[in-house]
């Protein structure tokens, strides 16, 4: 078989704050295969966010090795890491992280701008991504004209436009009500199902983690549990049961 999408080998991370040294990660070994939908759980300070940043190439391990699709990214330069984030990773954040002054369409186009995609193609792909997340007709709205759920969908569209192999979601439903959370999870599950995209999601809500195929639990900088979910919950079914699917 091909390489695992993510392979962490004995990864540690220590922060030095003045005279105090914080061991955020104390040796993580983790392999995530292509097409997986993994939820990472754990209390705050457990190392789950640090791991997420590491996987997202936003941060580098203090020691150990991180192979992304078989390629060692541990010693890449800042520019090279930016290129990896741009083309191979998609990010979804709790706070949506949209540019306040940009229209939805401009936000979705942003990663392609840095990838050097020509104007016409950029526009076409952005519109396509927005249709995929059900936001056709909202292209020229700014974040303050969109609901939380819509903003998160813009963020999902943005994460998809460069066709990454890995989608990283950091508390994607943290700022959303339960119904909107279901809608967002339905989109993620559909992407996972239809596009065979690998998804890693950090959450502290068991309901949300239940949509993943595998749940990894962190505590005090180490992995304390790693279990497969036999029968993940289906967000679109739940929505249908509540009546009126939108996703």
């Amino acid at each position: 078989m091909t390489h695992a999408v993510i392979e962490l080998r004995n990864v540690t991370k220590t922060y030095t704050m003045g005279e105090v040294t914080v061991h955020a990660l104390r040796g993580i070994d983790l392999t995530i295969h292509r097409g997986g939908f993994v939820a990472i759980m754990g209390p705050s300070g457990s190392g789950k966010s640090t791991t997420m940043n590491m996987i997202g190439c936003l941060d580098r391990p203090s020691s150990g090795v991180y192979l992304l699709e078989g390629e060692d990214v541990t010693h890449m330069s800042k520019s090279e890491l930016a290129g990896v984030r741009n083309r191979r990773l998609g990010f979804i954040f709790q706070g949506f992280h949209l540019l306040q002054r940009a229209t939805a369409l401009a936000s979705v186009e942003l990663p392609m701008l840095y990838a050097g995609v020509p104007d016409a193609e950029r526009r076409e792909r952005a519109l396509q991504a927005m249709r995929l997340v059900g936001l056709a007709g909202r292209e020229h709205h700014r974040p303050n004209q969109l609901s939380g759920g819509q903003q998160q969908r813009v963020a999902i569209a943005r994460s998809l436009v460069n066709e990454p192999s890995l989608l990283l979601a950091d508390e994607p439903t943290g700022n959303l009500d339960s119904r909107t959370s279901l809608e967002v999870m339905a989109i993620l599950q559909r992407l996972h199902r239809e596009r065979a995209i690998t998804i890693v999601m950090v959450t502290h809500e068991p309901d949300i983690a239940a949509f993943a195929q595998r749940i990894i639990r962190f505590k005090d900088g180490v992995i304390v549990a790693d279990e497969s979910v036999a029968k993940p919950a289906q967000a679109d079914l739940l929505l249908a049961r509540e009546g009126g699917a939108t996703a």
Partner: protein, 404 residues
Amino acid sequence: MNLRSSILLALSGLQANKMRSLLTMLGIIIGVGAVIVMIALGQGARAQVAEQIASLGSNLLVVNPGAPGGSVRGAAGQITTLTWDDAKAIAELPLALQVAPELSTNVTANSGVTNWATSAIGTTPELQVIKNWPVQFGSFFSADEVNAAAPVAVLGQTVAENLFGSGVDPVGQTIRLNNLTVQVIGVLSPKGLTNTGSDQDNVVYIPLRTAQVRLTGATHVRTINVQAASAEVMEILQAQITDLLNQRHRIVPPAQPDFNVRNLTTVAETAEATTNTLTALLASVAAVSLMVGGIGIMNIMLVTVTERTREIGIRMAVGATPGAILGQFLVEAVVLSLLGGVIGVVVGLAGSWLISVTAGWRVVVSPSAILLATGFAGAVGVFFGYYPARKASDLDPIDALRYE
């Protein structure tokens, strides 16, 4: 990310804070405007000086009596060693194009109605050619009138105005210079002040022999003006004249010559160097204000980078390289300074025009000054924009994303 979208992005960033952008640009606007006005004033002064020097006559050598920088010098006119024959001998030199001796004396000119104190200068028709000085009325006297010691006079503009009123053609009238009655045969066009401030139009020209025989009784000449064939041969001609007069005056070095030959081009070059220095000085003072404007840009760009830390984080998360972030903020600073530069050019042009209209000073706005000032503004943008842009690109993506 290409340059066009970078510039559009920068413009939208500046538009989001219109008032702040305008105030930031103000420093550059004032700086560029000041540079342009100062250079315009300096070049105006320079043009004026050049014009005054040209009015003295081009490629002009002036022979005066008395040793060059000599320790014993009589009052002007008291040394009587230069003669008309010296002038005629100089005229034989192939490199001497025109030669005009002068003998001046102070006179009271009387038109029968009014008096006017002026100087009467006896000379030859070549003087008019050397000074490139056209007549307004009548004509200059001829060589024949010089040889005949004719009692005729050509008036400078100031004299004509004071004796006969401005715009009146006095040709054919008679005036008295001290006790000599002469007929006015011409009036010279106005020439203005010399760079030392004396009025070149306050003069009456009469034939040299008339001055010598009928007015002063002198046999010498006060000055000999020599126009060289070209600017290149002036130094050669200067040496030739010195040799010739040494010979004629029987002066054997190391004895001091009893005359000196001055090159007016040197004077012109000195005057030009002075105005150039002045222009450079004024422009550099203005450039300082441009630098201050640049510091203003740096200050605001630092604030902007801090304010937009989260935006930077978002851009980095979706794949902006540090270089792209650096470029974005650098372009923004340069757009800010160039925009200010363009407005500053308009302000500078308006200011120059206003000064020329209200103060009546000569201003010369050159395209090179505009290019220089705008280019300098752009350079200021790059220089002072680099540090804030560098700071932005050095941000850690995680810290930037978490920044509130």
